[in-house]
């Protein structure tokens, strides 16, 4: 092993110009079942240590695993959502390695017989570009317990005096999803990596198979990266980066590894195949433990479990219950609503899809819904520093408000005042209109009176307009609007003014 010389980092833009990055991403998702993968211990977040453990999940002598049927169903749902083939028959396998958080000193997983394989998903980047990621496999396995390192200067593994182990998490069902090498992302590799994991997260939530919160560890990502001189070159040596705990970290980790590996290669040195640890504080990665013999997991079929052979009928039953996937839903809605790509992207980025969909369901046009949510409401949310969905107005209310505008009872300015009232908790738009008396005056009488007053106050305007200059009409309209506190339909006022002057 070479000495740990720190070669320089190459600026990212420079690195991606001269090297082609290839990604591989492994995602583990914790399934939201009530019980563990192989025993009936309850799964609940944040329990007291070692209170959610049975002889099976503690790995006591004599204990035996029994497969959680719900977890199998969830795994199949995930596989189908990822466009995978579902195995006709698959087995669990033992992955043998010694580690205190692995109670049996082997993990029951799947090796050469995953439950789902050969899939793909389309990942949408922020600017709308679509990238297809191929999925090699998705398989079932169990989680390990949790070590807390005690003593030592940093509290991390090296240098700790001892560790405390809690097995509550041991045995929780996981599905591991492995991509094929992701090629062709070029300088967008960091974004692709991030968007891929986000897309998966959205899928898990839509499928309702997991809470899917990265910050809670429900979704974990390990990022593999290698560089090669050109896309035609053979694959380079890859590193695996762990401890990537947020979407942003994924992006940063990829950028850093590209820069670092470019520096190593530029110096004429080989990239060492190893596991690296991502550092949240500064966005760097460092060498983790170098695995020597630990790679020999001595996989063999799990003799305590029998094969899982999902019937094709069962698989189709599950497929029929799958909800629409997020990407497909977005495309369908965009078409239905007639939004341009950029418009739809803004809606997605603002998190406004559900709100607009609900508003449209309540009877508004898609254009009208977007006008409010992406216009005035977005501005207010920004101003108050809250999410759109946290504003105190419902899609039904917006639909009602837009309806009032379209029927001519409110103009835009009045509508904004009504909105103020709704946001202040004064009730539905109708109620606010009545309570505040904000309706557009529909009776010509008061308008004519106001017009006459305005004309009387500015007699020279009549001459000018009769002379062919329509410009000053605006001043009359303005005066009328002021007199009516804005509760006049400007168009109608103009008609009446011209009519009056014409006389």
């Amino acid at each position: 092993m070479t000495a740990a010389t720190t070669t320089g980092l190459v600026a990212y833009e420079d690195a991606v110009r001269r090297y082609d990055p290839v990604l591989g991403i492994e995602v583990h998702v914790e399934l939201g079942t009530l019980t563990k993968m192989f025993c009936a211990a309850e799964v609940a977040y944040g329990g007291e240590p070692n209170t959610q453990v049975t002889p099976v999940s503690l790995g006591l002598p004599g204990a035996l695993p029994v497969v959680n049927g719900k977890a199998v169903e969830y795994a199949i749902r995930i596989g189908l959502a990822l466009n995978c083939s579902i195995a006709e028959s698959c087995r669990f396998a033992r992955k043998n390695y010694f580690y205190p958080d692995v109670p049996k000193n082997f993990q029951t997983s799947q090796y050469d017989e995953p439950i789902a394989y050969d899939g793909w998903i389309d990942v949408e980047l922020e600017d709308g570009e679509v990238f297809r990621v191929e999925i090699e496999r998705a398989h079932m396995e169990e989680d390990a317990g949790k070590n807390t390192h005690v003593g030592g200067s940093t509290g991390r593994i090296q240098g700790a005096e001892y560790s405390l182990v809690d097995y509550n998490r041991a045995g929780i069902p996981l599905v591991e999803i492995v991509t094929r090498p992701i090629e062709g992302a070029g300088e967008r590799a960091p974004e692709v990596a991030r968007a891929y994991v986000q897309t998966l997260r959205d899928i898990f939530r839509t499928l309702d198979v997991s809470e899917a919160r990265m910050e809670r560890g429900n979704v974990r990502a390990d990022v593999n990266l290698s560089l090669r001189p050109t896309p035609e070159s053979p694959l380079g040596t890859r590193t695996e980066t762990k401890n990537v705990n947020s979407f942003r970290s994924i992006e940063r980790a990829v950028r850093y590894e590209v820069s670092r590996q470019a520096g190593v290669l530029d110096a004429g040195l080989p990239v060492i195949q190893e596991t690296r640890h991502f550092h949240e504080e500064d966005g760097t990665t460092s060498s983790g433990r170098v695995k020597s013999d630990a790679e020999d997991y001595r996989y063999f079929p799990e003799p305590d479990l029998v094969p899982v052979a999902p019937s094709r009928e069962w698989v189709e039953e599950i497929r029929a219950t799958l909800p629409e996937m997020p990407v497909a839903r977005r495309r369908r809605l965009q078409t239905e609503w007639g939004y341009a790509d950029a418009e739809m992207r803004d809606v997605v980025n603002a998190g406004a899809i559900d709100l607009i969909e609900a508003t449209v369901s309540a009877g508004t046009s898609a254009a009208g819904a977007r006008k409010w949510w992406m216009g005035e409401l977005a501005r207010r949310a920004n101003q108050d520093d809250v999410m759109l969905a946290d504003l105190s107005v419902t899609p039904a209310q917006i639909a009602q408000l837009q309806g009032l505008v379209e029927s001519g009872r409110l103009n835009d300015k009045l509508a904004r005042q009504v909105l103020d009232g709704v946001l202040a908790g004064e009730g539905d738009p109708e109620a606010v209109v009545v309570a505040r008396g904000l309706e557009i005056v529909s009776d010509d009488g008061p308008l004519l009176a106001a017009i006459d007053d305005a004309l009387a106050a500015q007699p020279d305007i009549v001459e000018k307009v009769r002379g062919g200059n329509q410009g000053p009409v605006g001043a009359i309209i303005g005066a009328v609007m002021k007199a009516t506190k804005g509760q006049a339909d400007a168009k109608r006022v103009r008609e009446l003014v011209l009519d009056r002057i014409g006389q």
């Binding site: 019980t35 029994v66 010694f98 390192h149 560790s163």
Partner: protein
Amino acid sequence: MSTISRDEVARVAALARIDLRPDEVTRLAGELDVIVESVARVSEVATADVPATSHPLPLTNVFRDDVPEPALPVQEILAGAPQQENGRFAVPQILGEE
């Protein structure tokens, strides 16, 4: 024919996390060598057309419902622990100097 050398025994013992004295390594190497030579005969009949059997009985799809059962009481779990602290198993430092 394959032989199991002392080095091989030492390597496998490390993989299996079993400390062996040097005399044990030597003895085991001799014993295992004899055994392995004998059992290696299995490859004679284990031709490609014969499928492997990992289970004596052809069961499939044995599942349980996703219904919780009571957990083991914490005190009972920790009762047999060589060392424990605050409801957790205390284990020596993991991965010392490398």
